[in-house]
Each structure stands twice: as structure tokens, then as C-alpha cells.
């Protein structure tokens, strides 16, 4: 087993992603620049130009083509990567379904960003939440280190024959993509070659063994194809767990499906995802010093959604507060993750108050003060046994 030796570098999450792509020995990178993702592919281009990564960089004219090229490359058995954000992810949308429907193990990083109109180049998770029904496995990182490790894990997950589905590794646009922090990266590029061996087992195009990809499926068969994706997603849950465990064994870092802290016996547990978890963690530490019993948890795996783990978590606490950085319009509880959590609890017959807060939309600042004030508001609602009927749009000017 090849153990890695590490060097500790100051990297932004974008650069950490690029480093992971290099260390995953990716064969084809197709990409179109979009803020705040651009420096990912810029750095990959440098790696290719200076010979550190032997890969084909395909410069395309749009994200639609970027995903098309990744699909083509993956269909030939190449290890393919692309990166995007916001409108770029939206422009890819139809191809996302094709990539997963063709069961191609592409990995894509998304520097989560708000959507137009009005134009915002700033961070939130509306783009990521908008592609939740495309059958892509979705991991959301909260540090540059985790983003690095997750891209490498993503290839192991995607290329597993029980899965054969593409993977998104998402992280905060700007708040992570452009923040420098210490990251341990492998000293040698081949440290992961046993963890993610190149042995394509998915169906590939080969003139010696001809097959058709993306053909028509009649009403007699289409449904079964889609059900196979349902099964693959179910399998993915265990595979994500295994990939993380194995990574932990080999490289001494692992993250789990949900990260949690102090949930057992707490009065309230905050749940969120992405980089805001760090701010939450420091805020809660301050509140605990005042004697408050608060737990916190972070959803690392968004698709497949870890319903059972969420339900277990809920059983250990008295109420949940879900902080969402995206809005699903036209429903009373409009936090996408809050909705998933509520249905997870319903399925297990668990009665808990779930308070949904919308925060950090379009990079609206969230500080420790906001978290403390949200906690104050929740205590008030709990005190009056108030059930939440509508998400609270924290800090908005009505």
C-alpha cells in the first residue's frame, strides 16, 4: 500500500481542487471559465503546461460543450473532470441528466454561486440545489482540505461498479473558493493510484466491441432505466461511506456522511452545509460557554440524502434549526435541506420542531452575531411551543 507523505501548503479551495485533480491523474479536463470557479481550471492548465499532469485540456465555447466533452471522454473510458458554477451549471443542466443516465463516472467541482437575475457573482447554494434531481451524487465540502480529499474520493465512488454515477463536489463560491488556508496535499502524485486505480469497468465505446449509447427507450423500458439509477443512488450511500473509511485508513483523514458535535442530549441542534459550518462552530462554542446545550451538524452528503442518519440525529436532540443558503420558491418551508430533513423525520415517525432559516443568499454576510440572534429567536419559538409555518428569511428587508 502506497502511503502518502504530505506537504502543508497555503491554498484556496479552488487551488486545492486543482491539486486533487492532478493527484487523481485525470485524463481529460474540459472547461469554460466562470467566476468564482475559473482559477480551478487555470491552475489545472498550469499543471498540464508544466508537465505535472498528463491530461488533455479541452477549451470549449460554453459549459454545455464542457459537459458534452466530458461525457464523450468518459464514454471512451477516460477519467474526466470539469468545474463550473452558477449559470454555467444551469447551462449544463440537460447534459447532467445525460451523464448520469449514461452512467458515466465524471467528477465535477462546483463553486456554489447565486443565479441571475439580477446578476450576482456571489456565493450561495441555489445552483447546487437546482440540480438535485439530476441523479448526480453530491458532496458538499466545508474546508479546502475536505474539498481536496473529496475530489479524490469522488473518483472512487463514481467508478465503483455498484454506482457508475457522476459526482459533484460543491463548496462555497468566494467564501471558500477564494480563501487561502492550510491544506495538506500529497508530496507525490502517485500516492492515490492504489486507492483509485485506473481500471474502467463502465460501458465504453470501443470499435472492437460495438455498442450503442444514448439510444431511444420505449415506454416498455425507460422506467426500468430510471429505476436502475434509483438503485445506483441507494448503493452510492454505502459506497460513499466505504470510500471515506478506506481513505481514512490509508491517508488518516475522513469526514463521514454527516459531521456532528455535541448533539446527544442537546436542547437544539443546528444543521447546515458548506463553509458556513465553520462560522457556526465558533458561534456555538461561544454560546455553550454561557451554558447553552446546543449541538451542531453538517450535511456532507446531499445526494443521496442521508435520511436515516438525519433521523438518528434528530432522536438525540429536542429541536432542529436548519440554515439553508438557497430558496426553493413557492413553498412555505423554502430551505431545500430543511425540507429533506422534515421528510426524513416524517418517514421515521419522529416528532421534532424543525426551524428553517434562510441565510447567506447572494453572499449576504453571516456573522457570529447572526447565529446568536437566530438561536435567541429559536428559543423564543420553543418557549411558546410555536410550530414553524414558514421559513424565516433572516435579515431580509421586506
Amino acid at each position: 500500500m502506497l502511503k502518502a507523505t504530505w506537504k502543508r501548503l497555503p491554498l484556496s479551495t479552488n487551488f486545492a481542487i486543482a491539486q486533487a485533480v492532478k493527484d487523481s491523474d485525470v485524463d481529460v479536463v474540459s472547461a469554460y471559465p466562470i467566476t468564482p470557479q475559473t482559477t480551478v481550471v487555470e491552475r489545472i492548465s498550469e499543471f498540464i503546461a508544466n508537465g505535472e499532469l498528463k491530461a488533455e485540456m479541452i477549451h470549449v465555447e460554453s459549459e454545455h460543450s464542457a459537459m458534452s466533452a466530458a461525457i464523450g471522454a468518459s464514454a471512451l473510458g477516460a477519467r474526466a473532470f470539469t468545474a463550473t458554477a452558477s449559470q454555467g451549471l444551469e447551462l449544463m443542466h440537460e447534459l447532467l441528466h445525460i451523464a448520469s443516465g449514461l452512467r458515466l463516472p465524471i467528477v465535477m467541482s462546483v463553486a456554489a454561486r447565486a443565479l441571475s437575475a439580477p446578476i450576482s457573482i456571489w456565493g450561495d447554494y441555489t445552483d447546487v440545489m437546482n440540480v438535485r434531481d439530476t441523479s448526480w451524487i453530491t458532496l458538499i465540502a466545508s474546508t479546502a482540505q475536505e474539498a481536496y480529499d473529496s475530489v479524490i474520493q469522488a473518483y472512487r465512488i463514481a467508478e465503483d461498479p455498484r454506482v457508475f454515477l457522476p459526482v459533484i463536489v460543491a463548496y462555497d463560491g468566494y467564501a471558500m473558493s477564494h480563501t487561502y488556508e492550510p491544506v495538506y496535499v500529497s508530496e507525490k502524485s502517485d500516492a492515490f493510484k492504489d486507492y483509485i486505480p485506473k481500471n474502467p469497468q463502465w460501458y465504453t465505446l470501443n470499435p472492437e466491441k460495438p455498442l450503442t449509447m444514448g439510444s431511444m427507450a420505449s415506454p416498455e423500458w425507460y422506467y426500468e432505466f430510471k429505476y436502475q439509477q434509483v438503485v445506483a443512488m441507494k448503493n452510492a450511500f454505502g459506497v460513499v461511506k466505504e470510500a471515506d473509511e478506506e481513505y481514512g485508513k490509508r491517508y488518516e483523514r475522513k469526514y463521514g456522511i454527516i459531521e456532528e458535535e455535541g448533539v446527544d442530549g442537546s436542547d437544539v441542534t443546528f444543521v447546515t452545509y458548506g463553509g458556513i459550518y465553520g462560522t457556526l462552530k465558533e458561534s456555538i462554542e461561544e454560546l455553550r460557554k454561557k451554558g447553552e446545550q446546543i449541538g451542531l451538524a453538517r450535511i456532507r452528503l446531499f445526494r443521496p440524502f442521508p435520511s436515516e442518519i438525519v433521523a438518528d440525529l434528530a432522536e438525540k436532540t429536542k429541536a432542529l434549526v436548519v440554515l439553508d443558503r438557497a430558496i426553493t420558491f413557492g413553498v412555505n418551508i423554502s430551505g431545500p435541506v430543511a425540507r429533506e430533513i422534515i421528510s426524513s423525520l416524517y418517514a421515521r415517525g419522529i416528532e421534532r420542531n424543525v426551524y428553517s432559516f434562510i441565510i447567506g443568499v447572494g453572499q449576504r454576510t453571516v456573522t457570529e452575531k447572526d447565529i446568536a440572534a437566530i438561536y435567541g429567536k429559536v428559543k423564543e419559538m420553543l418557549g411558546s411551543h410555536e410550530r414553524q409555518k414558514e421559513s424565516i428569511y433572516w435579515g431580509v428587508r421586506e
Binding site: 488556508e181 458556513i276 462552530k281 465558533e282 456573522t367
Partner: protein
């Protein structure tokens, strides 16, 4: 030294405030410390006031919220209104300002007796070495002198990671000159 220091940089677009913030974090990380650096997530147009943030700590840093109450503010451009850069500065904190004014003038400009003030004529140093008024690395040199957040060796390394050899060497010369010349005036 306290466990964590939070530094806010104030410049105008094009002066390199963001790069300055990143350089200090990079050097601190190379020294084995924990650090975080990020720009203000707002407009970054050439000439517009820009903020950048650096946190340096002996322990891991989790919070990603902007620095509201900095320990230190570093002012690259003294023409920025002081209400902007003094905003939230902690009692007992420090202002490091690029200025050619006399100590008395600076003290009366800042007008706060509860903070320490350090001055350096960064524009002069930058013009002298670079023949250009890009003052960011001069302010980096001034900062690490008055507050030893990173070693000069690591700063030199970080400069070489960021720029080509010629530019890195010139900037390291600036860092050292400013390191020598910065003065605490109260």
C-alpha cells in the same frame, strides 16, 4: 502574543491589498501556524476602496465571517476616509498607516488614544525600489515588524511562490526596507 490575530487591510483597487493579506497568511502557514486570508466579498474595481482580511492563529480557524472587530488595521492608502478603516478597531488595537505626514499630524488624524499607531512611508519605499507606487508588500513588511505574525524567511518563500524571481526579489527588498523603517509613534 494572543492566540489569534485578526487583521483588516484597507486599500484601493489595484494597490494589492488582497495580495498583501494572502502573503501574510501564506508565510504564517509556511511557519506552521494556522491562517486564513480572503478579500472582502464586494466590488473590486480599480480605484474603489477595497478590504481584505487575514487571520493568523496558533490553533485551527473555523469561522469564515468577515472581521468586524480587528486587532490591526493596515491602511495602504491614507486618503481613504478614517471612518472606514477605524470602524470596529478594538480598544488596544493598532493602526499601521502608509503616510509621509509628521507623527503629530497622523496622531491628530487618527484621533484615538486607545490604539497604537505605526507609520511607514510605503509609497516612498515602493517608488524607490519598484519605480511604481504599489505599496502592498511594504505594508506587509511593516506589519510583520510591529506584530511578528510571520518570519521574513517565509515571506520571501511566499513571494517567490506568488511572483516571478525578478518581481519577488524586488518585493522582498521592499519588505525588508519597510521592516526597518516602520515606527510606532505613540
Amino acid at each position: 502574543m494572543q492566540e489569534r490575530y485578526e487583521i483588516r487591510w484597507h486599500g484601493r483597487g489595484g494597490q494589492g491589498a488582497v495580495t498583501a493579506g494572502v502573503l501574510v497568511a501564506e508565510a504564517a502557514i509556511l511557519d506552521g501556524k494556522y491562517a486564513q486570508a480572503y478579500p472582502e466579498f464586494g466590488a473590486e474595481r480599480r480605484g474603489a476602496p477595497v478590504k481584505a482580511y487575514t487571520k493568523v492563529s496558533e490553533k485551527p480557524i473555523y469561522s469564515r465571517s468577515p472581521i468586524i472587530n480587528p486587532d490591526v488595521v493596515v491602511v495602504l492608502d491614507p486618503s481613504i476616509n478614517k471612518s472606514i478603516y477605524l470602524d470596529g478597531l478594538k480598544e488596544g488595537g493598532m493602526v499601521i498607516i502608509n503616510t509621509s505626514k509628521s507623527n503629530e499630524e497622523v496622531k491628530s488624524l487618527i484621533g484615538r488614544s486607545d490604539v497604537k499607531i505605526a507609520v511607514v512611508d510605503a509609497t516612498h519605499i515602493a517608488l524607490d525600489v519598484l519605480k511604481s507606487a504599489i505599496v502592498n508588500t511594504a505594508m506587509v513588511g511593516a506589519l510583520v515588524k510591529v506584530l511578528p505574525l510571520a518570519t521574513l524567511d517565509s515571506l520571501e518563500k511566499a513571494l517567490h511562490e506568488t511572483f516571478n524571481k525578478k518581481i519577488a526579489d524586488l518585493n522582498y527588498q521592499i519588505v525588508k526596507a519597510s521592516y526597518e523603517k516602520v515606527k510606532t509613534i505613540n
